[in-house]
């Protein structure tokens, strides 16, 4: 029988199947962070259950961490308490933790791939919906709730119904100024926020084949924004080259053996999907969101649609936008480049390339938040920091930051923020904050101009 990439990885991890019920799926790597793990540790402790495979768990502190003065004690009591709980839980159970300030600390979905923890053919979970990011390597990776975190702690397994399969194919050549973020925002704007619910999505076609690993991670990251538990891209030479020589990657002969296995993973010719969508790359333009879910996206020079629906109207009212209007020339006072979607080195290179020799507009507060300590170091080594500082951008320390505004990095009420993050939900970046999702290039250009411009007219 012809199998999809997803089938191959899933089937290789089924420990047992319950009659008329779910599969017991084995989990290779379990990533944890401070916000969704403490209650799971408590649960096991209360029930006297040991952690089954602590060496398959990796922890980082990211959601609730400050992005300034990370060497100082954390001011907020609750945040500090949560980080302390992570440290003591990891210490008690012998779990590797990259805590605040560690050279490998970073956003869970940035640090794991860059350390070579994420590898093709694995199953990976984390109590975070953007775990779908790791699917860029041909990995089954998905977000779980805290009860499931406890289940994986207890058994290294989960009880799951096998999801249905979906494939999104994008062929052709992307236009200048169109980045991976635009590709995924375009797909979600076309399919809606629940088209993928109940499915695992494979992205196929030359657009993804020609994409860097960073770009593939941006795409897979947002799979959950169309409802899909996860997204996957077939591993290829780009994947193998990225993994080779990373800290936890297999070395020497073991690496070549792994590659030989990874090469068997791509979807078989003729394998069937439950649902398929096809898009033409030339149709995609730089994208912006205008509403309060990631499906509410338009081309940068497009107009907000007119829809007669109470949820739609509520959304526009929150954003203070008019149906039918263009977003061009909207004054913007906040720009955020960061989050597990767009905080990798490539994102900062793109931003720096545009910013070099220019100055940020006076009205704009521009935060650049690297995804990890390693990205932060690379920004410095490559001289990007000098470019950012000369242009008046504020380079901060790694963490989830203003993507979910759990720490101090909040956008004030009523303000627009052009953000490279993944969610434009009401209040996501701070109470009353109005988020416009975009690529790092559009975000950089907005910061320079102090308003939204048609980036396609400003490219060399």
């Amino acid at each position: 029988m012809k199998k999809t990439l997803f089938d191959k990885v899933w089937d290789a991890h089924v420990v047992d199947s319950i009659e008329n019920g779910p599969d017991i799926l084995y989990i290779d790597k379990h990533l944890i962070h401070e916000v969704t793990s403490p209650q799971a540790f408590n649960e096991l402790e209360e029930r006297g259950i040991p952690i089954f495979r602590p060496d398959q768990i990796v922890a980082t502190a990211d959601h609730n961490t400050p992005t300034l003065n990370q060497h100082l004690p954390i001011k907020d009591d609750l945040s500090r308490n949560q980080l302390d709980a992570l440290s003591s839980n990891c210490q008690k159970h012998g779990i590797t933790l990259y805590k605040l300030g560690h050279k490998y600390n970073g956003i869970v979905h940035v640090m794991a791939p860059e350390l070579g923890i994420t590898q093709p053919g694995m199953t990976m979970v984390c109590g975070d919906s953007h775990t779908s990011t790791h699917g860029a390597f041909g990995t089954i990776a998905f977000g779980i709730g805290t009860s499931q975190v406890a289940q994986v702690f207890a058994s290294q397994c989960l009880l799951l119904e096998k999801p249905k399969s979906l494939r999104v194919t994008v062929n052709g050549t992307l236009r200048p100024g169109v980045l991976p973020k635009d590709v995924i925002l375009y797909i979600i704007s076309q399919l809606g926020t629940n088209a993928g619910t109940g499915y695992f999505c494979e992205y196929a076609g030359d657009v993804f084949e020609n994409m860097s690993m960073e770009g593939r991670m941006t795409v897979c990251n947002m799979s959950i924004e169309m409802g899909a538990r996860g997204g996957m891209i077939a591993p290829d030479q780009t994947t193998f080259d990225y993994i080779q020589d990373r800290k936890f990657a297999p070395k020497g002969e073991a690496f070549h053996e792994s590659v030989a296995y990874w090469q068997t993973l791509p979807t078989d010719e003729g394998a069937e999907f439950d649902k398929e969508y096809f898009f033409d790359a030339s149709e995609i333009e730089p994208m912006l969101t205008y509403g309060t879910n990631p499906g509410m996206g338009i081309k940068i020079n497009g107009n907000i649609p007119k829809i007669n629906d109470s949820s739609f109207k509520k959304s526009l009212e929150y954003m203070n936008f008019e149906a039918g209007a263009s977003l061009l020339n909207t004054p913007v006072n906040y720009v955020f480049i960061g989050s597990c979607t767009n905080s990798r080195i490539e994102d900062f290179r793109i931003a720096a390339h545009y910013i070099k020799g220019r100055k940020k507009a006076n009205n704009v507060t521009a935060w650049l938040v690297p995804g990890s300590k390693q990205v932060e170091a690379q920004i410095q080594e490559e001289g990007l920091k000098t470019i950012f500082e000369a242009a008046g951008f504020e380079l901060r320390q790694p963490g989830c930051s203003a993507c979910l505004a759990m720490n101090e990095d909040k956008i004030p009420s009523g303000e627009y923020c052009v953000s490279t993050s993944n969610r434009n939900f009401e209040g996501r970046q701070g109470q009353g904050a109005r988020t416009i999702l975009a690529s790092p290039l559009v975000a950089a250009a907005t910061a320079i101009e102090g308003k939204i411009i048609d980036i396609t007219k400003h490219l060399n």
Partner: protein, 195 residues
């Protein structure tokens, strides 16, 4: 986990689509290390103004509406995987959420906390909104064994789907951890077989 068999209650209608878990419980309230007290901040930014006053236009602040059933627009629980959303709804007193569509992770989280997600047809959902808008005191019965949601006064009823394994867990108050631990030998064998 608490058992769930049958529930008779009035319902609170929240006729908004795509309610994401950031609305159910905003991130700034996720700093606790236990599961208690999240109900206080359920739908925080819809229940209270930024000045901290009750927003009387929001349905949870309308005293006519009470009950342990929440009826919500389609694609309920999308976004973040935070199980705090299920904890907040339970802690507030909800036992059943009715919608025409649930996001995957939220649905799983609810089931793992004895909070029953009841998925009905779009037409039936609209009918439920119509009924509750007209009369806040209309009673509904959710029967898990029969997998039915019924309107007590009118005899209207709809069958709902639920994973048979999850149904068994809810009816008996079992959770997945007990089951998985009972399979530990099989799991160890699996590990050996792929080493």
């Amino acid at each position: 986990m608490e058992k769930f068999t049958k529930l008779v209650s009035t319902a609170i209608p929240l006729n908004i689509e795509n309610v994401d878990t950031d609305q159910i419980i905003p991130a700034r309230f996720l700093k606790a290390t236990n599961k208690k007290g999240f109900g206080d901040n359920l739908f925080r930014d819809w229940r209270y103004t930024q000045a901290g006053e009750k927003d009387t236009s929001f349905v949870l602040n309308n005293d006519s509406y009470t009950g342990s059933i929440l009826i919500a627009g389609t694609n309920f629980g999308c976004g973040s995987s935070r199980e705090h959303a299920a904890w907040a709804l339970s802690d507030y007193g909800f036992k059943v959420i009715v919608s025409s569509f649930f996001a995957d992770i939220f649905k799983g989280n609810s089931l793992n906390n004895g909070l029953l997600p009841v998925q009905v047809s779009e037409a039936f959902l609209n009918r439920l909104f119509e009924l509750t808008n007209a009369d806040p005191n209309v009673n509904f019965e959710i029967n898990l064994d029969a997998q039915s949601l019924s309107v007590l006064d009118t005899n209207e009823s709809e069958f709902f789907e639920i994973d048979p394994y999850k149904k068994l867990c809810l009816l008996n108050g079992y959770d997945d951890i007990d089951f998985l631990i009972s399979k530990k030998e099989t799991i160890k064998q699996f590990e050996i077989s792929r080493a």
